[in-house]
Amino acid sequence: MDKTSHPYIPTLLDQLNEGEISRRDFLRKSTLLGLSAGAAYAMAGIIDPATQARAGDLPKGGNLRIGMRCMEIKDPHLADFAEKSNVIRQVCEYLTFTDRNNITHPYLLEKWDVSDDLKTWTLHIRKDVKWRDGRALNADDVVWNLKRVSDPKVGSSVLGLFTGYLVEEYDTGEKDDKGNPKKSSRLWSDKAIEKVDDSTVRLNLFSPQIAVAEHLFHYPMFILDPKDNGAFGPSANGTGPFEMVEYTVGKGAKYKARADYWGGAAHLDTFEFVDLGDNPGAGIAAMASKQVDGLSEADAVQINSMKAFPHVSVHKVETTQTIVMRMHPDVEQFKDKRVRQAMRHALDRDKIIQTVLLGAGTPAEDHHVAPSHPEYAALPKWPRDVEKAKKLMADAGHADGFELDLVTRPDPIWELNTTQAMAEQLKDIGIKANIKSLPSAQYWEVWTSAPFSLTAWGHRPLAIMTLGLAYRSNAAWNESHFSNAEFDKLLTQAEGILDPKERSKVMEKIELIMQDEGPIVQPFWRIFSTVMDKKVQGFELHPSQYIFAKDYAVASA
């Protein structure tokens, strides 16, 4: 450990040695505070997955084909699907990388330092990174990218993540058609993103933020060559292991490995994505006839039909991807918190997991904190108890139940199936939910305004990331209109606590508030799965569906 390490790291190490925190907690916290992931893994006495793959003698050469939708990829900072980002991910890279254990590593960075108050983040850029055109990556490139995503005119969803510590909302002084003041966003200060020297960038935040490193791995947060001015395509420059040689929307992408890649040339010579469309059967058929070597995602039904193929291996990973049934507490039917409690008691989670996910899930506890999150505090489980639920309904004045529209969307199909399974179980306590399934596009227009609906939430490595986005009063994505001063206070407190033990104590209080009066019923956490041909080596399924072709290899037949 060198002298520049964060002063809290020795304390963490003591806690690890005394068994007060888990290895995973140690890894998460120490890497967060700027310790290199390699050093952290070494201190914790386990093997770093990032070096594990490299260390093995993976075969060189060959071509790998993965089936995945190939949509437009004109502007990487606007990528709004994991699939789109996967196409770009082989060519352009991120400052950080969060692995499948939810541990964040430096990527284009050598390391980062955090001030004690979590308000100054110093990013040290690797000096050996070269763009494909031969130029070295420098601080100006990084500053340009960070500033670009912070411009509301560009339209990147990174802006939403930066809001609250780098980006502030302000009143433009104009009024919209309805006479409401128009709001806009901007960096809170000229010094918010600051170049220190050619390989150092400093982020000066106006409020503490613990998840900056995770945010830098948000899928559109690519580091692009400013020369390309945000545009992407086969000729685009990148620091990544591959060069894109061909791209046809709706058909596929082809890549060629770069021999001069800073991280050592990829195992593969070439790599391809093949667009198989939206029909799940096409993925199965393509695997059966070995037209692709793997799929970017395969659901439980697809896996069931492919299990019997002798050349196919199944990959699974636990995620913090979930779906929540959320209620607006300001709506007549849901005003009384006992109604919301009753709904949580009405659910038979194991049954839903079996019927909807064919077992590919773990039960959730209605507070949107997953057991795999480092800040999780275990609470007693809520098994199905219809009698108790009915009593709560009666106490709340809804002895005869009520009827209400429940908004959801038809794709992906597991979302609609979950809605139906939950609605069926709610019938037993007198709640009749009329399912209104809206096409995705229309659904996203009303997702925050419908009083009663289901929303899927993506994988995030920290629970406080989601809680801050979704349940803090007036947060940008607060779809449930939940507002609780005590919850907000505790969450802010939790976001500033480094000690995992202390932190999970606060999280316990937060989880209890969510279970007592929170706005959601949460059935499960999804297990994410896919298939690969057995000849594919070095493949590790990432919980966010991210593909890193540089780590994969194919054994020749």
């Binding site: 699907f81 509301p152 005119k153 929307v249 596929g252 029909n279 096409a282 393509a286 037209q291």
Partner: protein, 337 residues
């Protein structure tokens, strides 16, 4: 003849104007803004408003329709390609030329860069299917229409009706199970490249088979009915009574008369094959016109939908024209006015 062609062309233009306007109007009522769909659910409202302005999607319907028509005819340059919008839309053909279908908001490419390739792929699929459907349905139709209610008629009718009533997605899955999984002799998808280890012709077998199975029975039934009608006509009886062989009667007298009505049906199959192959293309992941149209419709990509509409109208009118010419050849009584 010249007047006839001119009339047809005028009709085609009129249909195109009406259809294109209808599509514009209908898209107006479909939910979800293109800007929201482009930016995804997690963009802020302000970001969506910015993009809506850049795409000029907030102008009134008539203004947008007029602008679209102007761009198509090459009267005005495409405003979306103006570098000042910051959209990075660039068409190598330039911003102003006749036949400029505009910029696809779904694919972020000029529509002309995407659509012709896809149409070509579908044309291959449809063409091969059509080449098989015509002889198969004619043979089946004539054989069963020769003797209504006979054993051959019953047998062929059962085959035709069974095949026609199996929807494409069902026969697709069935064929894949048989020839890809149980007896792996054919590829299960048709991405039309050879890197997957299968030749392009082998990738065409199953999708073409699905289309033929679904379609030929229906056409054969039409030919059968028409054949039965003709076989009951007095001139056939005369021909038989004067001692002609069945072969001579069928080929010399019946066939030509029996083909008039089915000829229209056959030509209609071309329209169906071009725009109705969505399901087959989805099942086999075939990069065709139908899948493009489906994606564009779900996204609300008006430029692509409009281009597809105009192309389909043009194909429909052309086949109709070919049909008129065909009637003249088949039946000399039909005269041009």
């Amino acid at each position: 003849m010249a007047i006839f062609v001119a009339k047809r062309l005028a009709m085609m233009l009129l249909t195109m104007v009406a259809a294109s306007f209808l599509v514009f109007a209908v898209c107006e009522f479909t939910p979800g803004s293109v800007a929201r769909k482009s930016l995804g659910p997690f963009a802020t409202q302000e970001q969506v408003d910015f993009l809506t302005k850049k795409l000029r999607a907030d102008d009134p319907l008539l203004v947008r329709y007029g602008r679209w028509a102007g761009v198509l005819l090459g009267i005005i340059p495409d405003p979306l390609q103006d570098p000042s919008t910051g959209l990075n839309f660039k068409d190598p053909r330039g911003a102003q030329y006749f036949g400029n279908f505009g910029y696809s908001t779904l694919n972020k490419l000029p529509v002309n860069d995407v659509i012709w390739n896809r149409l070509g792929n579908t044309a291959i699929l449809a063409g091969l299917a059509f080449l098989l459907i015509v002889p198969l349905s004619i043979v089946f139709g004539i054989l069963s229409g020769l003797k209504e209610g006979g054993v051959l008629d019953r047998l062929l009718s059962v085959i035709c009706i069974t095949f026609t009533s199996i929807p494409e997605f069902a026969s697709g899955v069935f064929l894949v199970t048989l020839f890809v999984i149980l007896w792996p002799v054919l590829p299960g998808t048709s991405p039309l490249d050879t890197e997957g280890g299968w030749s392009v012709p082998s990738q065409l077998v199953l999708p073409v088979a699905v289309l033929v199975i679904y379609d030929f029975g229906y056409v054969a039934r039409m030919i059968r009915v028409s054949m039965i009608g003709v076989m009951e006509k007095p001139f056939i009886r005369t021909a038989v009574l004067k001692g002609m062989s069945t072969r001579q009667v069928v080929i010399g007298h019946a066939l030509r008369n029996a083909m008039i009505a089915p000829f229209t049906v056959l030509l209609l199959q071309i329209n169906f094959l071009i725009s109705g192959v969505v399901v087959t293309e989805l099942v086999f992941a075939y990069p065709g016109f139908g899948r493009l149209l489906l994606d564009a419709s779900l996204f609300g990509d008006i430029a692509t939908i409009e281009a597809a509409t105009l192309i389909t109208v043009a194909i429909a009118v052309t086949t109709q024209f070919v049909g008129d010419l065909g009637y003249m050849l088949l039946d000399p009584r039909i005269r041009l006015r």
